[in-house]
Symmetry: none
Subunit: 547 residues, 2 copies
């Protein structure tokens, strides 16, 4: 056990295994159940990106969606198979037991699960007698036959099968014998794990622990837990099930999910690794947790929760004066773990000490030596504070930060071109088509350049006009490509008069970099981010900054 | 016990009392510990407003701050005494045990606690041996003398005293005998309740339960719990302490507090009342919970969390088609409590995961009767799926959905005006200023309208031009105001050539509605969302749709 392992806590089945194996499953369902969160609407490209992040984090299983239920999920499985080489995770298709009164082999929904090519299939099954009768509208016996038949069919086709018992805990309360009969039927038919789901999320940890213990003793099936957060206890409920002997936990990144959400993957795995001393992720993965949590939030376009356990920017931030003095003596007096273990950092609020230290670290990370120059570092801290007050964010825009840093270190901003003016016109024509035209007036190497281009939007038109104008002088720009573009409106309560922040990601085929622009309108903010993106691209290419 | 009370759950000391009495304390520390949250900065007026809300909600104790430690808290106690007539709560002053080597009677910090006039005083005391030595820099014996002396002195002055044992759980792990000695000293000197604090927030429920049980058995003191949320388990930790016999829970509204936050008052009291069947609030108070949670968020100027258990706007929102069909049969199949019990409501979200049942329910919610017309409902489902595939999202744009629905029901779209064309120009001038100009060409009531306006961005200019053109014909538009504007770029991997989705929230001073627009560029998408926003505003105002 590691030194942080908690000796007070006794965990049934806890192991000191040194490698992640099949004996304990970290099962992620961000792409399926997480996508049920209000406000999340994932494209196939989003799903592929999230799957890559989850695989990097080292979860064992990624539930990708319900192939056949909608074209997006079907496409996701087809593309994931071709485009992602998973290092840690297995892809899981989610679907339902066959319909009543037919065979699994004939059921088109079941066939779509097989067609997805996923090596693992999670079947959702009813285990609450009232749901069988009122929602499924079949008999209790037929429901059990549906479970047996579907599991057996998928096993015959060579797939690994997990069975999600929907509404298990409510069902157990209403009719414990029937609920257990469903678990037994699934296990006997060949399901490797039967997952007890608190679908309505109304349970508390003591209840979960009691039911999981009893079901484990009475059925002998390998059990998993799927908890929803409606009582604010999903993490604790998941751990309570593990305490009772469950060896498979279903979670979502950042706790995304229907209604309040699902058990949050990050505090669950952090508790298992750091508090239980249980190895559930590959070496070094936990250190990536903060980064991956924020990256997934960006993909789903939700602001990362500042107060999320372990990974929030406030999770290790100290404000109380009472604490600050003691922290100077020994930081471990006032934090439950070393934040570096989860890739986070301690922050002292209202103190530029922390600011200077992190700027210096960041400079080191970017290869810009600040040589411990206190006056210079303070200038950079002030500049960052002043810009962030205006809405800039450098956490997500490394390249813009490096340009700012170099400008302070070198005494002047890098400049490969100068903007005289630009203009973008968007026109909606009576026939419903749009024209987007931009004109830019720039100076580079002493030459005045005027260029015009059309695009499929005003920013695209500006981008193309800028390239058209500069490429002759800076041919290195030809290989730059914009790969991501994000807009966030700050100060949401001022309608279209808000401040706009644009983040642009650019690639030169070898690396990617992000730049930021802020302005009273989206076009002006985009232009700033484009200027930084091109400037940084030329800096990377080693071009001499003489104008 | 109420019918929703959970028979599976056995609670030590649970009572069926019909009135709130002193046997169980709901103790709120939003104004003291909650104010430590990053981003919260309360004025005295804010504190008075929050105290009124908490008293309305029916908590037994309101910890108002540390009188003497800062002028704001001193003023709060002075004004609260004069300005608030508490109906349910007692005001609590927070402070520290006396300093080492002096008497409590002489200690100015202790005197300030008495001067506050608060009938109840919470004293924070060290109970972790290392903290006594390293942070307090005194001996273990002197620390115990400080606890005894300060409690006894305050009791002599006629105050009720609670003692917060800081870092109790970490201290208990390091030196259980010393930690218990502090509890005994406090109780023997006259403290009514000794609160075990998980100050660093690193504990899990099983640990809390084990320690509280042991300390209760070994000391016989009345115990309370103060949990921080660093493991994401603060609510469960609080309930675990109650299971072990604690009869005093310290919480904050919305879980505000340092780092990740404190145990959230709302899910804690909801679990006690609805799951344990324990009366901890006055009659009818729980029904005010959602309103009070949001009101307090407004006062501290934080957006209410949409995904907070019980009280978030998403807490009873259903998206999955799988669920919607069963909800039509019996809503209790898919919710753990009736949302009305906590003053919240069920909402159906419309998305491409929705089936016919959720469209029908949504129609009912919007007052559009679909009369069980299967063909019509199927048409709406198809239309939603087809539009969402293009990037529209209706779960966040109720008004656009209603327009779509009505168009299908009524056979044609509502139209108060028709767009012939529009044009937006954004110009960056050599002096660095921007010009944003829009021209719109519209038809309304058979009249062709051409209007031009300048704005601080292209969308703002279009909005102003549209109003300028239409207000004469539709004066109802004058009171419409855009209050929120969100942009999301879909298919993030295609740079500036991505599809853009815009969500606009509009108000007429009475209600708010959200509309969506999608297009290959941000201006075109914004125009669509503006058109829907104005059309819906006129529909709401009861304007006849004849063009």
């Amino acid at each position: 056990m590691t030194t942080e392992t908690d000796s007070l806590h006794t965990v049934a089945g806890a192991s000191d295994a040194t490698a992640v194996d099949d004996s304990f499953h970290v099962f992620d369902t961000t792409l399926r159940d997480g996508a049920q969160r209000e406000g999340i609407n994932l494209t196939v490209a989003d799903k592929l990106t999230i799957a890559r992040h989850l695989d990097d984090f080292g979860v064992g299983f990624i539930e990708g969606g319900w192939p056949g239920a909608n074209p997006r999920d079907t496409e996701f499985f087809a593309r994931a198979k071709q485009e992602i080489r998973f290092r840690n995770a297995q892809l899981v298709a989610f679907g339902s037991t066959r319909r009543a009164g037919a065979t699994a082999a004939e059921d088109p929904q079941v066939k779509a699960l097989l067609d997805s090519g996923a090596p693992v299939i999670t079947l959702v099954a009813k285990s609450h007698d009232r749901h069988v009768e009122l929602a499924l509208r079949t008999t209790l016996d037929e429901n059990i036959a549906m479970v047996r038949d579907t599991v057996a069919h998928l096993r015959e086709q060579g797939r690994r099968v997990f069975v999600d018992c929907e509404h298990f805990f409510d069902g157990y309360r209403a009719n414990p014998e029937y609920a257990k009969a469903v678990v037994r039927a699934a296990a006997e038919a060949g399901a490797d794990v039967v997952i007890l789901c608190d679908t309505n999320g109304g349970m508390l940890p003591a209840q979960i622990q009691a039911v999981v213990s009893t079901v484990l003793a009475d059925t002998g099936a390998r059990l998993g837990i799927h908890a929803q957060d409606d009582t604010g206890c999903a993490v604790a409920n998941t751990l309570a099930a593990v305490d009772a002997g469950a060896t498979h936990v279903q979670c979502t990144a950042n706790g995304y999910g229907e209604r309040v959400g699902n058990a949050n993957l990050f505090p669950v795995v952090a508790a298992l690794e750091l508090k239980y001393g249980k190895r559930v992720l590959p070496d070094g993965a936990l250190k990536e947790m903060t980064r991956i949590s924020h990256a997934i939030a960006e993909v789903v376009n939700l602001t990362p929760s500042t107060h999320q356990p372990y990974v929030g920017v406030s999770a290790f931030a100290h404000k109380a004066g009472l604490h600050a003095s003691a922290i100077k003596v020994d930081p471990d007096l006032y934090q439950h773990i070393d934040p570096e273990r989860v890739g986070n950092t301690m922050r002292m609020l209202v103190s530029d000490m922390a600011g200077r230290a992190s700027i210096e670290l960041k400079g080191k990370e970017l290869g810009v030596d600040l040589g411990g120059d206190r006056a210079l570092i303070s200038r950079v801290v002030e500049r960052v504070k002043e810009r962030e007050l205006k809405g800039y964010t450098y956490e997500a825009a490394d390249a813009s930060f490096e340009l700012l840093l170099r400008a302070e270190v070198e005494g002047r901003a890098r400049r490969y071109f100068r903007t005289e003016s630009w203009r973008a016109i968007v026109e909606d024509r009576p026939d419903g088509t749009h024209a987007n035209e931009a004109t830019v007036k720039l100076w580079a190497k002493g030459e005045r350049i005027v260029a015009t281009a059309e695009g499929n939007g005003p920013v695209n038109a500006l981008d193309l006009a800028m390239r058209a104008g500069l490429e002759r002088i800076h041919p290195q720009l030809a290989k730059l490509e914009l790969v991501d573009y994000k807009v966030r409106i700050l100060e949401g309560k001022h309608g279209t008069q808000s401040t706009t922040r644009v983040l642009i990601t650019t690639t030169d085929g070898e690396g990617e970099w992000a730049t930021v622009g802020v302005g009273e309108n989206v076009i002006a903010a985009s232009w700033q981010a484009l200027e930084d993106a091109y400037t940084y691209g030329l800096l990377r290419a080693g071009v001499d900054p003489a104008e």
